[in-house]
């Protein structure tokens, strides 16, 4: 069992054996979650605070359920409505909460690096629930667990990630994780939605979706993040759907047993065909949500162990 981290700020600092440790433990929590008695007591007496500086429904709910199942006292704060509005800085907010002795802080923030900054100022374990365009480590871990369970392995797979790579922290964390586990990664999307020098990360870049999907084992669709767009990255939604929306025809270029993933929330008819998303033979989108809870339980469990007693 190896997991040496004090925080989970990103996939970048994780070693492959740490990723495996976390996924193995998450597998155990999947079984627990499927049983009637979903409770464990590994976080009994611990306090978990969720700070979401950016709107989230599913990630916040997932972290909340994960904490509660492990027996932690969980509090969720909608930070947009709180003192930030009154002009308090991120660091002051962090210090204030730190003084209440939480054991786990789960943070989402619209700016890249904000969670790293916060982690420097507090004593407890910090989990990044998404920072700007930087990282979203628990999403990449839950994707990895989903792939591992569906494909029986997490290496030597051809994985296509399609859509708005430039604005996506999910894409960054995923390409980091899947790269560390030695997979072949393809990024597909219009060049306006590709980040600079992305090819230097050891990935193959395609702007033609059919070419990019050729023989893929896994097709990972990304949300077209309209709220992040300055405007004008793509001509229109319908042209985007025509060229990059996943439908049966485009999917036929991938391997016959390829699985379809999406981190949610989906824009049906923009990046993915609605019927395809619901096809239980191809789509593992619901499993991803299920794995999310288990992965977050595993991450909090491991971090709590590394922090010894309460802070």
């Amino acid at each position: 069992m190896t997991f040496r981290q004090k925080h989970l700020l990103g996939i970048e600092p994780l070693a492959p054996d740490e990723i495996t440790t976390l996924l193995d433990l998450a597998d155990h929590y999947v079984s627990l979650n499927r049983g009637e008695h979903k409770h464990s007591d590994v976080l009994t007496g611990r306090t978990q605070i969720n700070m979401f500086f950016e709107n989230s429904t599913r990630t916040q709910a997932s972290f909340e359920i994960a904490g509660k199942r492990l027996g932690a006292d969980v509090m969720s704060m909608a930070m947009q409505a709180s003192s930030i509005k009154k002009g308090e800085t991120l660091i002051d907010t962090a210090l204030t909460l730190n003084a209440m002795h939480p054991d786990l802080l789960v943070v989402r923030h619209p700016h890249s690096g904000a969670v790293n900054l916060l982690a420097e100022k507090v004593n407890c374990a910090v989990l990044n629930a998404g920072d700007g365009r930087h990282e979203h480590p628990t999403q990449a871990l839950l994707d990895a667990l989903t792939i591992r369970r569906a494909k029986g392995r997490l290496h030597r797979l051809t994985i296509a990630i399609c859509g708005d790579i430039a604005h996506s922290r999910v894409a960054r964390s995923n390409l980091m994780l899947l790269g560390k586990m030695e997979n072949r990664i393809r990024l597909i999307g219009p060049p306006t939605l590709m980040p600079a020098r992305i090819a230097e990360f050891g990935v193959e870049v395609y702007d033609d979706m059919r070419e990019g999907l050729q023989d893929a084992d896994v097709v990972m669709m990304l949300r077209l993040q309209r709220e992040r767009m300055d405007g004008g990255f793509i001509p229109s939604e319908r042209e985007y759907y025509h060229r990059y929306g996943l439908d049966e025809e485009k999917l036929s270029f991938a391997k016959p047993d390829a699985i379809v993933m999406h981190p949610g929330p989906m824009n049906r008819g923009v990046e993915i065909d609605g019927t395809l998303a619901d096809d239980i033979n191809r789509s593992v989108i619901q499993e991803q949500v299920e794995m999310g809870v288990a992965v977050r339980m595993a991450a909090m469990d491991l971090l709590a162990r590394n922090h010894g007693g309460a802070s």
Binding site: T89, G113, N116, L117, G132, H134, R169, R172, A196, R197
Partner: protein, 426 residues
């Protein structure tokens, strides 16, 4: 006050020499220099013990934050920092609150500076009122009041018609126009240079091509108007070919680079360290080395500190939200010594870019070891090692990227018009 400096290592940027010798000053003016046996009729003799004696630095683009933000820096603290850093002339920026865009505000700044700063001030004024890019300032009155150059600093005058009129009017008066070339559209919202690092960190970024675009536009308008122009903050290889062409075509253009773009690169930002957030953002290592080369060949004329004080609060923020800029009056010389110790540039070349060239460009008599020039001098040890502790900086703001860095090069004494201003005398 007459002093004879003996046993000195004279760094003469004009002659391009680095040689043993002596230098005497009389009544604030350099009276004589020479090698061999010094004259013996001096009352006050200063034995330099073989340390370097060079002209004081003429630093273009210092932000003093007065008026408006004295909690960040004042003329007194900036002056003390400058004296300790070997900067004997601060060419101050007009991007204060309010903007230095009228003879009255300029006179206020000059008066404040004269009252409290131990080093010289050569003020710049804005080119347009409020740096808003709409109406030109009173270039004539401001020039009479002592403005040495006109610049809207990091605000690009995007209305080319306005900029053309400013350049045309300035040309008639022989006024120097300075700009940070940048395409404002492309660089909007950027916090880093686009590339592998910005992608890894998920930071909004801008291609160095935005600087080239801005520069090409400015150079075309300079060609059209015949104005005197200085691009004061170039940072990328992409800009240099365009600049070289303009210089070779005989336009009256010069270019500067700030010390951080010669000694740091984008990777120094590391884990979102906001003290490394600059404008323009730090570039790739390739760009950095090309810029150093351009100083060596003389394509880039001037090295400056781009001293930009920021308080703790404006830097203790997520990287995208944090303010840009770094204080550098006290670290300019030791940072420049990195280029000397690495063998990239010799001392006369460095001092040519930090003293002679800026003085010449602004029409100032200092910045040289010439008989008859003002005795603005620094005595320094290029090899003295130290670890920089930002708490020891004299600037009110401590936002230096060199905190904790091992540096070499210490100023031992600074003289302005023959008077020792550092270390301060009782």
């Amino acid at each position: 006050m007459n002093i004879l400096f003996t046993n000195a290592r004279l760094i003469d940027p004009q002659a391009g020499t680095d040689s043993a010798g002596w230098l005497s000053i009389e009544d604030g003016i350099i009276a004589a220099t020479g090698t061999g046996r010094p004259p013996s009729n001096h009352r006050q003799i200063h034995d330099c013990n073989g340390k370097c004696l060079a002209p004081g630095i003429v630093d273009i683009g210092v932000k003093v934050c007065e008026p408006g933000e004295r909690h960040k820096e004042s003329f007194r603290t900036a002056g003390l920092a400058a004296a300790a850093g070997g900067v004997t002339t601060m060419v101050t920026r007009p991007d204060t609150i309010p903007v230095i865009d009228s003879p009255e505000t300029l006179e206020f700044a000059t008066r404040r500076a004269e009252a409290v700063s131990p080093v010289r001030i050569a003020p710049m004024a804005a080119l347009t009122k409020g740096r808003a890019g709409r109406e030109m300032v009173e270039i004539g009155f401001l020039k009479d009041a002592g403005a040495v150059a006109f610049s809207d600093c990091d605000h690009v005058i995007s209305d080319t018609k306005v900029f053309v009129r400013c350049l045309t009017y300035a040309r008639a008066l022989g006024a120097l126009v300075m700009a940070h070339p940048q395409d404002p559209g492309l660089s909007a919202g950027a916090a880093a240079t686009s590339g592998k690092f910005s992608t890894l960190r998920g930071l909004p970024s801008v291609s160095p091509m935005a600087e080239r675009l801005g520069l090409e536009r400015d150079l075309a308008l300079v060609e059209m108007t015949g104005a005197r122009y200085h691009a004061d903050n170039l940072s990328s290889a992409a800009s240099l070919s365009a600049f070289k062409r303009a210089k070779e075509a005989g336009l009256d253009v010069t270019a500067g680079v700030n010390i951080h773009h010669l000694t740091l690169n984008e990777l120094d930002v590391g884990d979102y360290k906001t003290f490394f957030k600059l404008k323009p953002p730090l570039r790739s290592e390739d760009d950095r080395s090309v810029m150093v080369e351009a100083v060596e060949t003389g394509l880039i004329d001037i090295i400056s500190s781009m001293h930009t004080p920021q308080d703790e609060e404006s830097k203790r923020l997520p990287f995208e939200e944090a303010a840009s800029g770094a204080v550098a009056l006290e670290t300019l010389l030791p940072a420049a010594m990195r280029l000397y110790h690495s063998g990239a540039l010799d001392l006369p070349a460095l001092f040519r870019a930090m003293t002679l060239n800026p003085a010449n460009r602004l029409g100032l008599p200092q910045g040289r070891l010439q008989v008859g020039a003002p005795a603005d001098l620094i005595l320094f040890d290029p090899d003295a090692p130290f670890v920089l502790d930002r708490a020891t900086l004299r600037s009110k703001s401590k936002n230096t990227p060199f905190d904790g860095a091992r540096m070499e090069g210490r100023v031992l004494a600074t003289y302005v018009a023959g008077r020792q201003v550092f270390p301060p005398q009782a």
